[in-house]
C-alpha cells in the first residue's frame, strides 16, 4: 500500500541529470512527495508542514554527493531531519528523586497503560533491582484493577491491595503511603483511560497529580494513532505536564507517524516503546528505527537486532564456516528453516524488511505461509542421517517413507530436494563472497527463505535479483553485488549498520 519514499523521490528527482546543488525547484517538487508520505504515515498535518519547511531550508543549495542520486540525497536529508526531530535526546525513565519515586501513566482508553505499567515495573525490577509497587487507579473500566493485580502476579511485582469503593485520588494517596511504609523505590500509578475532552476526568487526573507529585508522568499512546495524536498529546501535556511518552503497539504494521506528531507538539522525549503483549516487550526508543519506519524504509535495524538476539551464535558460525567452503547440507537447510521460525516466521520477518509491500504480495501469491517451514523441517527430520548427508540416496521407496513419516507427499519431498540442490549450488557460487554475514544474511533474508520456499521450487537467480531490486536499499545483505541505493552514507535505515559480523555476534548494534 505504501510506496517507499526513496522510490517516489527517485521517480521525480532521478530524472534530473544535472549534478551539483539541489535547486529550490527540485526541492519543492520533492517536498510534495515527502508531505504525502508523511501524511500517509499519520504524521499530523501541522507537523508535516513545519517538518517540510525545515527540510526545505536544509536541502536547497546542498551539494549532491557524487555517488548518490539527488533523490537519495533528499531522502538522506529527510531521514536526518526526522531523526533529529524524533529526538536524539532519548533517555530512559528518570528516578532521581526521593523514594518512593511516584511514576504516573496517563492516556486515552485502550492505549495500553496497564500493560505498560507492568512492563515498566518488570524492567525496573529486573535491570535496576528496584522494589516496585504497582497501583491501579482505574475504578471505571470493569475489572481494570483486577487486570493489574493479575499482571503483577505474573511479573512477580507487588500490587496495592484493591479496596472496592475507593476513589482514584484516595487510592493514589494510599499507594504513596504504602510505598513509604513498605520501603519501595518506585510506585507506579496506573490511571483510567480518559478522553481529553472529558472535563471531570481531566480534573481528576490533575488531582491525582497534586496528591502524589509524580516524578515522571508518562503519556502512553498508541503508535497507530492518526491525526488526533496532536490534540491528545497537547491536551494531556497542558493539563498535567507530561515528562515523556511511551509508544505502544510498535510491533504493529503501522507507520507510526504519531510519534513525530506527539513529540513535536509536546517537546517531550519518547522514552520507551512497547513491542508486544509479553511483559518483556518494552524497548528503548531509537529514533533511527522509527524514522525508517515512518519513511517506509523498513525496520532494518530492528531486523538485525532480532536476528542477532535469536540466532545461536555457535550454530551460525559453524554454518557460515561450511558455507564458506561451499558446503550446504540438508541439515544446514533444516537449521535455517528453524531459525526462520525462531525469528517469528515469514510474516513477522517480512514486516521488517523494507519495500515489503511488493515482496509480501509476491510471496502471498506464491502461497507460502509459515506452515511450509514446519512441513519442510518435518520432511528433513524424517530422513536418516545418511540421507541428510547424501540426498542422492533418496530413491523412490525412500522418498515414500520420508513422505509418510512427515505426513507430506512425495512431490513435496521432491520440491524440497530440488530447493536444497539449488541453494547448495548458490552457496558454492557465492563461496567467494566478502563478509560472512553477506552469505548467511542473504540466505536467511532472500536466497534461502524468500526465494527458496515457494512450493514451486526456487525462482531463478534473475528473478531473485529482480525481487531484491524491488526493495530499495536491498535486503539485509541481499544478493551479493548490485544493491541499488545501498550504502548511502549515513543513511541508517538503508544499510545494515554495524552488523556485528555474524560469527562471534555478541555486540548488539551501537
Amino acid at each position: 500500500m505504501f510506496e517507499n519514499l526513496s522510490e517516489r523521490l527517485g521517480g521525480i528527482l532521478d530524472r534530473l541529470t544535472k549534478r551539483g546543488a539541489l535547486s529550490e525547484a527540485d526541492v519543492n517538487e520533492a517536498m510534495r512527495e515527502v508531505r504525502r508520505a508523511l501524511i500517509e504515515a499519520d504524521v499530523a498535518l501541522d507537523v508535516v508542514r513545519s517538518f517540510t519547511d525545515k527540510v526545505r531550508s536544509r536541502a536547497v543549495g546542498e551539494q549532491v554527493i557524487r555517488s548518490v542520486t539527488p533523490g537519495q540525497m533528499v531522502v538522506k536529508i529527510v531521514h536526518d531531519q526526522l531523526v533529529e526531530m524524533l529526538g536524539s535526546d532519548a533517555r530512559g525513565i528518570d528516578l532521581n528523586a526521593t523514594r518512593p519515586v511516584p511514576l504516573m501513566l496517563v492516556g486515552l482508553q485502550g492505549s495500553g497503560k496497564t500493560t505498560t505499567a507492568a512492563k515498566i515495573a518488570r524492567r525496573l525490577t529486573d535491570r535496576q533491582k528496584l522494589k516496585v509497587l504497582l497501583a491501579s487507579l482505574d475504578t471505571r473500566r470493569p475489572a481494570a484493577q483486577e487486570q493489574l493485580r493479575v499482571l503483577g502476579e505474573q511479573a512477580g511485582i507487588e500490587t496495592l491491595p484493591i479496596i472496592p469503593g475507593q476513589l482514584p485520588v484516595e487510592i493514589a494517596g494510599r499507594a504513596m503511603n504504602a510505598g513509604r511504609l513498605g520501603g519501595y523505590d518506585v510506585v507506579i500509578l496506573d490511571t483510567a483511560g480518559r478522553t481529553h475532552i472529558d472535563e471531570p476526568l481531566m480534573v481528576e487526573m490533575a488531582d491525582i497529580k497534586r496528591t502524589t507529585n509524580p516524578h515522571e508522568i508518562l503519556l502512553v499512546a498508541d503508535s497507530l494513532t492518526g491525526q488526533d495524536a496532536v490534540n491528545l498529546a497537547k491536551s494531556f501535556n497542558d493539563r498535567v505536564g507530561i515528562t515523556g511518552i511511551v509508544l505502544t503497539r510498535v510491533d504493529g504494521d503501522g507507520r507510526g507517524g504519531a510519534a513525530l506528531s506527539m513529540r513535536a507538539v509536546t517537546e517531550r522525549p519518547i522514552k520507551l516503546i512497547g513491542t508486544g503483549e509479553k511483559l518483556d516487550a518494552l524497548e528503548d526508543f531509537d529514533p533511527e528505527r522509527i524514522a525508517g519506519r515512518i519513511l517506509g524504509m523498513g525496520d532494518i535495524v530492528g531486523l538485525v537486532e532480532k536476528a542477532a538476539a535469536n540466532i545461536d551464535a555457535e550454530q551460525a558460525q559453524k554454518a557460515a564456516e561450511r558455507m564458506r567452503k561451499g558446503v550446504f547440507t540438508l541439515d544446514d537447510l533444516a537449521e535455517q528453516l528453524g531459525q526462520m521460525q525462531k525469528l517469528g516466521g515469514m510474516s513477522s520477518l517480512m514486516g521488517m524488511i523494507p519495500g515489503i509491500g511488493k515482496a509480501k504480495k509476491q510471496i502471498d501469491a506464491m502461497g507460502i505461509d509459515d506452515s511450509v517451514f514446519k512441513r519442510q523441517v518435518a520432511i528433513i527430520s524424517s530422513m536418516t542421517r545418511a540421507e541428510r548427508r547424501n540426498p542422492d540416496l533418496l530413491k523412490a521407496s525412500r522418498k515414500k517413507r520420508v513422505a509418510a513419516g512427515s505426513g507430506t507427499k512425495v512431490e513435496e519431498v521432491n520440491k524440497l530436494l530440488k530447493m536444497h540442490r539449488q541453494m547448495a549450488d548458490m552457496m558454492k557460487a557465492m563461496g567467494k563472497g566478502k563478509g560472512m554475514f553477506g552469505k548467511l544474511g542473504s540466505m536467511m533474508g532472500m536466497g534461502g527463505m524468500g526465494g527458496g520456499l515457494p512450493p514451486g521450487g526456487m525462482p531463478d537467480p534473475a528473478a531473485l535479483e529482480k525481487l531484491a531490486r524491488g526493495m530499495p536499499g536491498g535486503l539485509p545483505g541481499g544478493l551479493p553485488g548490485g544493491l541499488p541505493g545501498g550504502g548511502l552514507p549515513g543513511l541508517g535505515g538503508m544499510k545494515i549498520p554495524g552488523l556485528p559480523g555474524l560469527p562471534g555476534l555478541p555486540g548488539k548494534k551501537k
Binding site: M1, R36, I39, E40, A41, D42, A44, L45, L108, Q109, G110, S111, G112, R140, R141, P142, A143, A144, E146, Q147, L148, R149, V150, L151, Q154, T195, H196, I197, D222, L224, T225, G226, Q227, D228, A229, N231, L232, R249, D251, G252, D253, G254, R255, G257, A258, E277, G345, M346, S347, S348, G351, D369, D370
Partner: protein
Amino acid sequence: MAEKGFFRRVFGGASTPEAEQTEVVETPVPAAVPAVEAPVEKVTWFQKLKRGLSRSSNAISESIVSVFTKRKLDAAALEEFEEVLIKADLGPATAMAITDALRTGRYDREISEEEVKEVLAAEIRKVMDPVAKPLAIDAARKPHVILVVGVNGTGKTTTIGKLTAQLTAEGRKIVLAAGDTFRAAAIEQLKIWGSRSGAEVIAREPGADAAGLAFDALKQAQETGADILLIDTAGRLQNRDELMAELEKILRVIRKVDPSAPHTVLLTLDATTGQNALSQVEIFGKRAGVTGLVMTKLDGTARGGILVAISAKYGLPVHYIGVGEGIDDLEPFAADDFARALAGL
C-alpha cells in the same frame, strides 16, 4: 450537484458489491429499540451523535469558514480544503478525491460556505449510504452467532456489553462467551458487562484454548435455546500471523457445531486510529471474514474520517458507533448524520 458515482470512479469500482443505492434510511429513530434503563437525561440519538462528532465538525466547519468565506475556489483554496479533510483522517487519496469533486464545475468561482458543506456532506454520504446497514439478526438461527474481533483495546468487550444491553432490551436471550482467555482479567471484565444485562457468561479458566471455549459455548447456547451468542476474542494486531491463525481456528471449530456460523463477524475500529485502520479491515476481513464494522470512541476529538476511506475501498457494512463508556453509548450508524456532522451541517 456533483455527478454521481464519483467515488466508485475514483476507487475503481471495487466498492459496494451489491450497491443497492437505496434511498437513505430516513433514520428510524430508536422507537424500535426500547431504551435501556437510562434514568438520567435522555438525549436523542442525533444529539448524541452530534455530540460525539461535534468536535470534528466544529473543527472542520471552522476551517471551512476560514477557507471559503468570500473566497474564490482556486488551487490554494482547494488545497486548504483538502488539508481540512486530511486532518479528519480521511487519508490523502480520499481527501484528494473529494477535493476533485468539489473542483468540478466550480473552479475559480465564488463559493459560499454553505455550498462547500453541502458538497462535502453529499460526497461523504455517497460513500457511506450503501454501508450504513443495521445489524440484522436472523431469528431463525438458534443462536445467531456473533464473533467480535479487533486489535487490542479497540473496544470489543465494551461493545459486546453495550450490544448485550440493547439486544436484551429487545427481548432476546443473549449468551456471552469469554473468548479472551489471554489478557489478564478479560474474563472478569466480560462477566461484569454480562451481569449488567443479566446475560449468562460462559467462561473457562484464563489461558484456556479460545476455540475450545467457543465450541462449548455454542453447544451450550444451542441447548439452552439462546437467541444470540456473542463471542468475545482476545485483541490482536493484524500483522501477527499466528494470532490470526488462531482466529481462523475459532471459526473452524464453531463451524463444527453449526456450519452456518458465525452469522456475523464484527470488527471494532478505534476512531483514533489513523491509516492503519485500512490494514486492519483488509487483514481481519480476509482472515476472519468480517461482515460488519463498529467504530468506537467517537466521543473524543478523533474524527473517524478513515471510515470514509474504508467504506470507499471495502464497502463493508457499518453497524454502530461507540460514543462513550456507558452501557447505552452505542448508536446505530447513520450515513446522513455522519456525513452532515463531518461536514459541519
